[in-house]
């Protein structure tokens, strides 16, 4: 299968910041699914660079071109039972797919890599962005609603606004976050359906578990939010949020003042 390799290499090596980078030892695969003990398992030290959902590896840190690319969509990242300490594996769903076994320099490095790789998928990113989009809409609506209701001079009224639970669903961190090492990639191994609300409902429920791949119908087609307009890179604003931005700027000053007041009160209350 062809790939626009020149552009991919350019993306890998250009100075756009990487999401994570470092040396890892990569197990050499010799067409075995498992490392049998009677075959020597060997590892090669490579320089790895994570950009988005793409994991590149270079022969040396200053190599001009990557040796290889692992597209991370649909993978799971797991700690490894390998003989090596600090080993973890990137695995894919389909039968017979090989695993990439990687070994970090130490515990902290291993944790950092597993965390970064688990959350690297496009699907995950898209989920978070849509959640935030909703939250911003709700924050704006709350703001507008507060404006309309009669103003109270008591401080408790103002506090209530700022800690309005409808603004941010802080309760119930999804359980999967604590179990960060296992099935964050595609979520295919996770019974995500259980805790996962239908995003179309637009309620302020806790953020759903990282997704399996969703059908097109539930991604953009049925999405309640309007398509993002052709945006300048700096501010991807939808037709609606353009209006909210105005609202925000308008009320922003009052909020900033209120917040300062509230924070000062907090400080005084908690010496």
């Amino acid at each position: 299968m062809k790939l626009n390799e020149r552009s991919v290499v350019h993306y890998a090596t250009c100075d756009s910041p990487a999401d994570h980078a470092g040396f890892l030892r990569k197990r050499v695969e010799r067409h075995h699914h498992h490392a049998h003990h009677h075959h020597a398992t060997s590892y090669q030290r490579r320089w790895f660079v994570l950009k988005g959902n793409l994991l590149f590896y270079f022969e040396e840190r200053d190599s001009r071109e990557p040796m290889g690319l692992v597209v991370l969509e649909g993978c799971t990242v797991e700690l490894c039972e390998a003989a090596e300490e600090f080993a973890f594996a990137i695995r894919f769903d389909d039968a017979g797919a090989r695993a990439y076994v990687l070994v970090a320099d130490g515990h902290a490095a291993m944790e950092a890599w597993v965390k970064a790789l688990s959350r690297a998928s496009f699907d995950y990113m898209r989920l978070v962005v849509r959640e935030l989009e909703k939250q911003l809409e709700e924050a704006c609506k709350s703001l507008a609603a507060c404006r309309k209701s009669p103003r109270r001079s008591s401080s408790s009224g103002r506090k209530r606004h700022l800690s309005n639970p409808a603004l941010l669903p802080l309760q119930e961190k999804p359980a999967a976050l604590e179990n960060g090492y296992s099935t964050w990639g595609s979520g295919d191994g996770v019974p995500g359906g259980a805790a996962c609300p239908d995003r179309e409902e637009g309620h302020t429920k806790p953020p759903p578990l990282p997704p399996r791949r969703r059908s097109a119908a539930s991604s953009t087609a049925g999405s309640p939010s309007p398509g993002l307009s052709p945006a300048m890179p700096e501010s991807p604003v939808s037709p609606e949020t353009a209006c909210f931005s105005k609202l925000h700027n308008w009320y922003g000053q009052e909020i900033a003042a209120l917040r300062r007041e509230w924070q000062e009160r907090q400080k005084r209350g908690h010496p």
Partner: protein, 149 residues
């Protein structure tokens, strides 16, 4: 450069963000428009011969520019080689615009910028960091202002 083709092929079989039969022309000199099935999945555009299950190829949609060309036609080119264009002719102007919009939003980099933008807006409005509940507020890739392109 090696890549995990098997997984990419698997990705090509996933439900698409968008799919259509269009006419496609590669940037090579003397290329002609050919009927292709194009399928947008995450930040890849796969293209197939219309009667085949496996894609001929894939375009990674990072650092690319989507340009409206003549009627019903748009092109994809990449930052380091802006003159090398993949051209796509749609059935209608409407379809053409839909694809342009979808492809502009299809990159991981675009989503990252959106996330940073929303995070910042929410933080300004509410004083709270919406990423905290995800446990990812410290990650370098979500910080404001430090990223160039």
């Amino acid at each position: 450069m090696r890549f995990n083709e098997r997984e990419l092929l698997c990705l090509a079989r996933q439900p698409a963000e968008k799919a259509a039969e269009v006419l496609m022309r590669a940037p090579k000199k003397g290329s002609v428009l050919k009927k292709r099935l194009v399928k947008l999945v995450v930040n890849f555009l796969f293209y197939f011969r219309t009667d085949e299950a496996e894609p001929i190829g894939a375009l990674l949609l990072e650092h690319c520019r989507i340009t409206k060309e003549e009627e019903n036609v748009f092109s994809i080119s990449f930052l380091e080689e802006p003159e090398r264009k993949y051209c796509f002719e749609c059935d209608s102007e409407e379809q053409c615009q839909e694809w342009i919009e979808a492809l502009k939003r299809a990159s991981y980099e675009f989503m990252r910028r959106s996330l940073i933008f929303y995070r910042n807006e929410i933080q300004k409005m509410t004083g709270k960091d919406p990423l905290e509940q995800y446990g990812i507020s410290e990650e370098a890739r979500f910080q404001l202002g430090t990223r160039k392109q």
